[in-house]
C-alpha cells in the first residue's frame, strides 16, 4: 500500500466533499473502510498498552479491595465484601486525609489561578527581548523535579538550615514550620504553587492570545476602564482556557504526594489521600485496605472530572479540535 493511495489527508477529503457529505455516513466506501482499518490498526498498540498498564491494575485493585489481605500473613486472605470500605469510611483518619487533600487542592488552585493570570498578563505585555526570556524562565519551575522543589522549600523553612525565620520579622526565630498543621500545610502549598503555577500561566497566556484585539480596541474607544475591559472582554473570551487549566490543575493537585512525603512524611496531620493509600499498601502491607483507599481516591477524581465536564460544561473535545 503506497502512501499515494491512502495518503489524502482526512481534512482535505472532508473539506472538498463538504456540500453533499453528511458528517456521519451510514455506509463507508471501500476506501473509507480501508482507511478506518488502518486507523484502528495504528492506534491499537497504544490503546492496548494504556488498557494494560492502567485498566488491568484498577480492576485488580477493585478485586483486592473486597478481601481482607495482609502481605505479612497472606494465608489469612479472605473475602469480606465491602467491609474494608465501611472500615475506612468510619475512620477519622480517612476524613482527615480527605480534608487535607481538599484544603490543599482548593487553596493551591485558587492561588495558582490568580498568580498564573498575573504572570500571563505580564508575559503578554512584556516587550521585545524580555518576552522569550520570561517564557524560558517560567519553564524552569515546571521542569524541576517536584522532590527537588520540596527539598528546596523544606531547607528554606527548616529551623536549623533555613533562613526564612531570620528574614521574616514577624515570625519567632525558633518557629518550627513543620511541627503544626497550619504552618506545615502552608509550606507544602507554597512548594506546590511554585512548581505548578507556570503551567497554568502558559495555558492562560495562550488563552489571552485568543482574545480578539478588535474587541479590546472597541471597548477602549467606548471608554471602558482597564478593569471593565478585563471583566467584560478578556475573561469571558478566555473562559475555555481558564476552565481547562482549572480542570487539569484540580485533578493534579488532588493527588498530592511528593511534597507531603518530603516535608512532613504525613506528620502533624498533613496526610493526604494519596499518602494514606501509600502508607497502607507499601508501609503496612495492608493490600485490602490500601486498594480500597485507592479505589475511593479514583472515585473522587472521577467525580471531580464529571463535575467539571457536566457542571461547568468544560468541552475538552472542542478545545482540542480548536487546535486544528
Amino acid at each position: 500500500m503506497s502512501a499515494a493511495t491512502t495518503g489524502i489527508p482526512a481534512a482535505t477529503t472532508a473539506g472538498a466533499a463538504a456540500p453533499t457529505d453528511r458528517p456521519r455516513r451510514p455506509r463507508r466506501s471501500d476506501r473509507g473502510r480501508q482507511e478506518a482499518r488502518l486507523g484502528l490498526l495504528l492506534c491499537a498498540p497504544a490503546v492496548l498498552v494504556l488498557v494494560a498498564v492502567v485498566g488491568y491494575p484498577i480492576l485488580q485493585a477493585v478485586w483486592d479491595s473486597l478481601y481482607s489481605y495482609k502481605l505479612t500473613n497472606p494465608d489469612a486472605r479472605r473475602f469480606v465484601g465491602l467491609e474494608n470500605y465501611a472500615l475506612i469510611l468510619s475512620d477519622p483518619i480517612w476524613w482527615q486525609a480527605l480534608w487535607v487533600t481538599v484544603l490543599i487542592t482548593v487553596v493551591t488552585v485558587v492561588v495558582e489561578l490568580v498568580l498564573g493570570f498575573a504572570l500571563a498578563l505580564v508575559m503578554n505585555n512584556a516587550l521585545g527581548s524580555l518576552r522569550p526570556a520570561l517564557r524560558t524562565a517560567i519553564l524552569i519551575p515546571y521542569a524541576i523535579i517536584t522532590v527537588v522543589s520540596a527539598f528546596a522549600f523544606r531547607f528554606m523553612f527548616d529551623i536549623t538550615s533555613g533562613f526564612v525565620n531570620t528574614w521574616l520579622p514577624f515570625v519567632p526565630d525558633d518557629l518550627d514550620w513543620f511541627a503544626s498543621f497550619g504552618t506545615a500545610v502552608t509550606v507544602i502549598s507554597i512548594s506546590e504553587i511554585w512548581k505548578t503555577t507556570p503551567f497554568i500561566s502558559l495555558l492562560l497566556l495562550s488563552g489571552l492570545a485568543q482574545v480578539p484585539g478588535e474587541l479590546q480596541e472597541a471597548a477602549k474607544v467606548d471608554g471602558a476602564t482597564w478593569w471593565q475591559r478585563m471583566r467584560r472582554v478578556t475573561i469571558p473570551n478566555m473562559k475555555a482556557a481558564i476552565m481547562v487549566a482549572l480542570l487539569f490543575r484540580t485533578l493534579d493537585a488532588f493527588r498530592i504526594f511528593d511534597n507531603i512525603f518530603i516535608m512532613t512524611n504525613g506528620a502533624a496531620g498533613t496526610e493526604s489521600v494519596s499518602f494514606l493509600a501509600y502508607r497502607q499498601t507499601i508501609q503496612r502491607l495492608e493490600i485490602g485496605i490500601g486498594s480500597a483507599v485507592s479505589v475511593l481516591l479514583t472515585v473522587c477524581v472521577a467525580l471531580i472530572a464529571l463535575l467539571f465536564v457536566k457542571g461547568f460544561k468544560v468541552n475538552l473535545a472542542a478545545s482540542t479540535r480548536a487546535g486544528r
Binding site: T13, C43, A46, V54, R324
Partner: protein, 277 residues
C-alpha cells in the same frame, strides 16, 4: 504605551525572574555550603565549598546517587522512546485518517493522564512481587508508560494536525520516491513535534516519585527522586542537607539546559494539547 506603564511591566517581568529562580538559587547556594556552614542562617555560603559534590560523586553518598542517576536516565529514556513510537503511530492515525473511535482514543488518553498514580501503584506492588518485576528496570518502565504515553498521544496529535501533509504528495508528483518523500518532507515537518513530545514525556518520567519509591527497594532500579529521600548524614545526628542539595543541582542542570535549548517548542507542546496554541 506610556513610559510609566512600560516601567511597570518591566518590574513585573523582573519579579517573574525572581520568582522562578529564587528556590533554584537557594538550592545551588546550599550545595556550596560546607557542613559547618549549613546552619549559618543566611542565604549565601560564607565560603564556597565543593565538599558536597565530592561526597555525592566520589564519596560516601556516591554509592546511593550514581546508580540512581544511571537508573533514572536509562529508565526514563526507554519509557520515553517506547511511548513516543507508540504515540506517533496513534497520533498519525488521529490526525490524518478517518476512523470510528477516534474521540474514544483521545478520551482514553486524557482519562489515563488524569488518573491518580497511587491507585495504580497499590495493585502493581503486589503483582510485581508475584511475577518478579519488583525492583527491576522493566518494573518501572511499564508503569512509566501510564504517565508518558497519554501525554505523548495528546501532544503529538496536536502537532500532527498542523502538518501540511499534502506536501508529501506534492513531492511525489515532482518525482520523489515514497522513501524520499518521507525522509525529505515528512521527517523535517514532523521532527520538531516528535522531539518536543519526547522532551515533555522525559520530564514527566524524570519527575516521578510515587512509582520510584513504591516499586523499588535497592540501588538496582531506584531512580533519583526516590534516592534523594534515602540520603543519610555522615552520622545519625547529621542531616544530609548538603549531599541532597548537591545531588539535586546535578539532576536539575540537564533539564534546565533542555529548557533553554527548546523553550519555544516546549511552550507550544504544553499548550497545544489543551488549548489552541
Amino acid at each position: 504605551m506610556r513610559t510609566r506603564t512600560k516601567v511597570w511591566w518591566w518590574v513585573g517581568g523582573l519579579l517573574i525572574f525572581a520568582y522562578c529562580l529564587f528556590p533554584v538559587a537557594w538550592i545551588v547556594s546550599l550545595s556550596l555550603k560546607a557542613p559547618s556552614d549549613l546552619d549559618n542562617g543566611s542565604f549565601l555560603p560564607s565560603a564556597v565549598s565543593w565538599q558536597n559534590y565530592q561526597l555525592v560523586l566520589t564519596g560516601d553518598a556516591s554509592g546511593l546517587f550514581l546508580p540512581a542517576l544511571r537508573n533514572s536516565v536509562g529508565i526514563c529514556l526507554i519509557a520515553t522512546a517506547i511511548s513516543v513510537v507508540l504515540a506517533a503511530l496513534c497520533a498519525y492515525a488521529v490526525a490524518r485518517l478517518d476512523f470510528p473511535g477516534k474521540a474514544l482514543v483521545l478520551g482514553l488518553a486524557l482519562g489515563v493522564s488524569m488518573f491518580p498514580v497511587i491507585s495504580i501503584v497499590t495493585p502493581l506492588f503486589n503483582i510485581w512481587r508475584t511475577i518478579g518485576l519488583f525492583d527491576t528496570w522493566p518494573g518501572l518502565i511499564i508503569p512509566y508508560l501510564s504517565i508518558t504515553l497519554p501525554l505523548s498521544i495528546w501532544t503529538l496529535s496536536a502537532f500532527f494536525r498542523e502538518i501540511p501533509w499534502e506536501m508529501e504528495q506534492a513531492a511525489q508528483v515532482d518525482g520523489a520516491t515514497t522513501a524520499q518523500a518521507f525522509r525529505k518532507v515528512i521527517v523535517p515537518l514532523a521532527g520538531p513535534g516528535v522531539a518536543t513530545t519526547a522532551i515533555i514525556a522525559f520530564f514527566l518520567a524524570w519527575n516521578d516519585f510515587v512509582y520510584g519509591i513504591s516499586l523499588t527497594s535497592t540501588e538496582r532500579a531506584r531512580p533519583v527522586p526516590a534516592a534523594l529521600a534515602f540520603f543519610t548524614g555522615a552520622s545519625q545526628f547529621e542531616e544530609p542537607t548538603g549531599a541532597i542539595s548537591a545531588a539535586a543541582v546535578i539532576v536539575t542542570v540537564p533539564v534546565v539546559v533542555l529548557v533553554l535549548l527548546f523553550q519555544r517548542q516546549i511552550v507550544a507542546g504544553l499548550t497545544q494539547g489543551a488549548v489552541k496554541g
